[in-house]
Structure formats: structure tokens, C-alpha cells
């Protein structure tokens, strides 16, 4: 079967279509997630001491209206480049806004989750109608990831901002590595579905828009997939960066769902996972409308333009630019967290 064009994604949430990783990279991702959770648990035990010593972000002398305007413009451009780069806007949002804007990381993560949520919600109906998102595949994974994302959000808010910045830097640099070593499998071969996926009837058919072919698909390694989604949920809640970059490799390379179904289903999972994590931030007062609303609106407007420019912009160039941006933002988060570049 020939490789086909990527599906139309007006909201830019089929975010990791190009950012899938190989099997070793997936294992590294799981190891990284486990290490982060361990570190987070240690920090949570020691949280109040660190939190008390936590410093605020330097304030700005600009008038109040400058920053929401700058947010809108920045998010608009992030939205434009996110679609051709094949990465979710939320993944760029938190490190860039957290690194270069005067908002505390608590509010940036709350806004980041809403940016990822709004994009996933806006794209969801289109993907479902196009047969690119599978309810039967998404729902069991989303259940576990939604539960763990609450835990992740609570951990993230309990940790000192400096440690979250350091972990965020590590995660963002890890995403860069995933993007650089990206491999993907358009139609993975699943010889035999596992018992759980058979019992749940997780299989389907989608019409590939490019070739017009009807593709039957089924999945395997469902128990391991469920475990990976537990970890993904923790990361999504903790950093507020959305998790399409991790969802797609897990669905595509681990469970064997076709690439397009993986990308579409990832968006559906994100809409549920980010909802549950967002409630934690809302309930804790960490959603500041002045930060969240211009970001959501700017990102969605930019993503619409980005989708229209898909055929005009050179995807590989944009992708390199985004990798450069992520590298810079990742190092910035690391250095900020370590107190070297505040």
C-alpha cells in the first residue's frame, strides 16, 4: 500500500502525525515517564518546604493590555506552524509562554490544558464524522488516562515551579529527540488481536481518503497500551502540554492502529483527558481568563490559517523551525528551573 497524504486537520490536533517514534523510542518514553513519576512523588513528599521557598516570576513594566495581545499574536503564529509541523499547539504553548512571558507557570499550565482541550474539541467532530477517530479504541484508554491526569495535575500543582520547569525542559527536549528520530507505520501489521481487544470489539474499518481503499484494522498489546496511557495521563495533567506526541506512537506503533486512525483517536482521547485535568486547575483557581482566553482564541484562529496553508508551506522547513523553537524553549525551561537564566 502506498503512503498517503495526511488527513485534513483544521484545528491542528492531529498533532503527532509526524512525530511518531520507533519501538526503542517508545520504551525510552515509558522509562522517562516512570522516572518523572518517581521524581514527582519524592517532590510531593517534600512539597511544602520547596513551595515556601519558591520565587515569583519577574514582573513586567508593560501595561496590562500588552500581554494578552502578545499572547494572542504568539498563539496565532504557534497555531499556524503547529499544523504543518505535525505537532499540537499545546506542546509549543507551555514551554514558550512559560519561558518568555511574565505569567507564573501555574497559570500557563492551566491555559495550556485549555488550549489543547479546545483544539481537540474543535477537531473531534470532524475526525469522528470522517471515520478517523474510533470511539471503541478511545474510550477504554481515555478512562484510565483521565483518572491519571487528575493525579498528574494534582502532582504538578503541588510541586515547586522550579522543579516543574526542569521536568518540562527534560520532556520538551525528549519530544525533540522523538521528532528527530521519528518513524511511523502507516498500516501496522497486526497478525492476531489480543484477548482484551477482542472482548471489547476494538476493531474497525476506515476509508483512506488518498487511495480510496477501505482499510480493516485491529489492535494488539491492549493491556500494555492501557498502562502506557496511564503514564501519558499523568504527564498531560502535570505539564498541561497535551499528549498527542505520546498518544500517537502508543496507538500506532505499540497497539498497531493505522497512523490516521491513531492521530484521529488521539484527539478524542485528548479531549477527555484534558477535560479532567483542566477541572483540577479550574478548581484550584489556576485558570486565569486573561491568560487562557486570548491563548485559546489565538491558537484556534492560527490553526485554521495553518490548515489552509498546508499545501503552500513546506512542511519539512516548518518542522525544522519548530524543532529549533522547541530546543530553545526546552533549554530555556531547564535553565530557568535551575535558576541559571531567570
Amino acid at each position: 500500500m502506498h503512503r498517503s497524504q495526511e488527513p485534513h486537520d483544521p484545528m491542528g490536533t492531529m498533532n503527532s502525525l509526524d512525530s511518531c517514534c520507533g519501538q526503542p523510542a517508545l520504551k525510552k518514553l515509558a522509562l522517562l515517564a516512570r522516572a518523572l513519576i518517581f521524581l514527582a512523588m519524592l517532590t510531593l513528599l517534600d512539597g511544602p518546604v520547596h513551595a515556601a521557598a519558591e520565587s515569583v516570576v519577574p514582573s513586567s513594566s508593560m501595561p496590562w493590555w500588552f500581554w494578552p495581545l502578545a499572547l494572542f499574536v504568539t498563539c496565532f503564529f504557534i497555531g499556524i506552524v503547529a499544523v504543518p509541523a505535525g505537532i499540537g499547539g499545546g506542546t509549543l504553548f507551555v514551554p514558550i509562554i512559560g519561558g518568555f512571558f511574565p505569567f507564573h507557570l501555574d497559570f500557563v499550565r492551566g491555559a495550556g490544558l485549555l488550549v489543547a482541550l479546545a483544539s481537540a474539541l474543535a477537531a473531534g467532530p470532524l475526525l469522528l464524522r470522517g471515520g478517523l477517530a474510533s470511539m471503541r479504541l478511545a474510550l477504554p484508554l481515555a478512562l484510565l488516562a483521565a483518572i491519571s491526569s487528575i493525579f498528574g495535575a494534582m502532582l504538578g500543582l503541588a510541586m515547586p515551579a522550579s522543579l516543574v520547569q526542569i521536568l518540562l525542559g527534560v520532556i520538551v527536549l525528549g519530544i525533540v529527540v522523538l521528532m528527530l528520530t521519528a518513524k511511523k507505520s502507516e498500516f501496522p501489521h497486526v497478525a492476531q488481536p489480543d484477548r482484551l481487544s477482542s472482548a471489547l470489539g476494538i476493531h474497525g474499518i476506515f476509508i483512506d481518503g488518498a487511495s480510496g481503499q477501505a482499510i480493516n484494522w485491529q489492535v494488539h498489546r491492549t493491556p500494555l497500551g492501557l498502562f502506557i496511557f496511564l503514564l501519558i495521563g499523568v504527564m498531560a495533567g502535570m505539564f498541561g502540554i497535551g499528549a498527542g506526541w505520546a498518544n500517537v506512537p502508543a496507538l500506532n506503533l505499540l497497539m498497531g492502529a493505522p497512523l490516521k486512525v491513531s492521530a484521529g483517536t488521539s484527539s478524542l482521547v485528548l479531549s477527555l483527558v484534558d477535560s479532567s485535568a483542566a477541572w483540577v486547575y479550574i478548581n484550584r483557581g489556576a485558570v486565569l481568563p486573561m491568560v487562557a482566553v486570548p491563548s485559546v482564541v489565538g491558537m484556534m484562529a492560527g490553526a485554521k490559517i495553518g490548515a489552509r496553508l498546508l499545501n503552500v508551506l513546506k512542511g519539512s522547513v516548518i518542522r525544522k523551525m519548530v524543532i529549533g523553537l522547541l530546543l530553545f524553549a526546552g533549554f530555556r525551561a531547564l535553565l530557568k528551573g535551575l535558576g541559571i537564566w531567570v
Binding site: 513551595a51 519558591e54 515569583v56 516570576v57 514582573s59 513586567s60 508593560m62 501595561p63 496590562w64 493590555w65 500581554w67 494578552p68 511574565p102 505569567f103 507564573h104 501555574d106 497559570f107 485549555l114 479546545a118 474539541l121 474543535a122 473531534g124 467532530p125 470532524l126 469522528l128 464524522r129 474510533s134 470511539m135 471503541r136 474510550l139 478512562l143 483521565a146 487528575i150 494534582m154 515551579a161 477482542s198 472482548a199 471489547l200 470489539g201 476493531h203 474499518i205 477527555l272 477535560s275 479532567s276 485535568a277 483542566a278 477541572w279 483540577v280 479550574i282 478548581n283 484550584r284 483557581g285 485558570v287 486565569l288 481568563p289 486573561m290 491568560v291 482566553v293 482564541v297 484556534m300
Partner: protein
């Protein structure tokens, strides 16, 4: 006549695809409407807030000295309540925006609830249970019981 889960598992591919299409269409319609309503409320609320149509709880001029603080300090300095306490101040320009945000964060619940009768009709109890469990998780998260909002 409804199909059992085993029937779905063993159903011919075309029949399985048709069943999944029905689920997806219902979910998509309800999600689409929820998202649209949420975005409209969000944008209108924000316009009223920044244009000064409705007075905010925290003044716009004061914000730059507060948004760089950790959330705990922000809440302490502004007297902003946590959990659903914001409803008391819902008439304030900034707090009103939480309505749009809450609609977006909660708009997956109606589509999930809509799927439950569909699955029950097919005797697909596993998926009816999964939908109910996700709704429960979202409601508990929203209530603040799981997330410590109260």
C-alpha cells in the same frame, strides 16, 4: 433487535463499521454543539471583561502585579475562591469567563451520556459501563472531590 458485545465482536466488518458510525455520529453532533456554545460564551464573556462592560473581581491594572505569583498567593491576595466558589462572584467580568471555560471542560459529558442508552440497547454493557465511568471521573473532577477544590 439489539446486539450483544459478542455479536459486535463477531459481527461482519460492514456491520461493525455501521455500528461504530452510529456511535461516532451521535457523539460528534453533541460534542460539536457543546464546543460551539462554550466558545461563544468564552469570547463574549472575555469581550465584556476587557472592554470594561462588566466590572472585574480583580482590576485590570492590578493583574500584572499578580499573574506572576504562584496560584496560592494570587488567590490569597485577591480573595478569589477555589472550587465552585467562583459562582458567588459570577457577575464579575473576569470570573464570568469561567462559565465558558467550564462549558468547554464539561462538554464531553452530554455526548458520553448520549452513548449510554445506545450501548445498553445493544446490550454492550462493557462500553455503557466505560462511558458511565468516564462521566463519573469528569463529574468527580469537576466537583473538586478528587482534585481538592473544596
Amino acid at each position: 433487535m439489539g446486539l450483544r458485545n459478542n455479536d459486535i465482536m463477531n459481527a461482519p466488518i460492514s456491520e461493525n463499521a455501521q455500528l461504530q458510525k452510529t456511535e461516532a455520529s451521535l457523539y460528534a453532533v453533541l460534542l460539536d454543539w457543546g464546543t460551539r456554545v462554550g466558545l461563544v460564551v468564552l469570547v463574549l464573556g472575555f469581550a465584556a471583561y476587557v472592554l470594561g462592560v462588566v466590572a472585574p473581581h480583580v482590576s485590570l491594572e492590578q493583574l500584572p502585579q499578580l499573574w506572576n505569583q504562584p496560584v496560592a498567593i494570587y488567590l490569597q491576595k485577591t480573595g478569589t475562591p477555589t472550587g465552585w466558589g467562583w459562582l458567588v462572584h459570577a457577575g464579575k467580568g473576569d470570573i464570568f469567563n469561567l462559565f465558558g471555560i467550564a462549558i468547554l471542560a464539561g462538554c464531553s459529558v452530554p455526548p458520553l451520556l448520549g452513548l449510554i442508552p445506545l450501548y445498553l440497547k445493544r446490550r454492550d454493557y462493557a462500553y455503557a459501563g466505560i462511558c458511565a465511568a468516564i462521566v463519573l471521573v469528569l463529574v468527580l473532577a469537576a466537583s473538586g472531590v478528587l482534585s481538592g477544590g473544596h
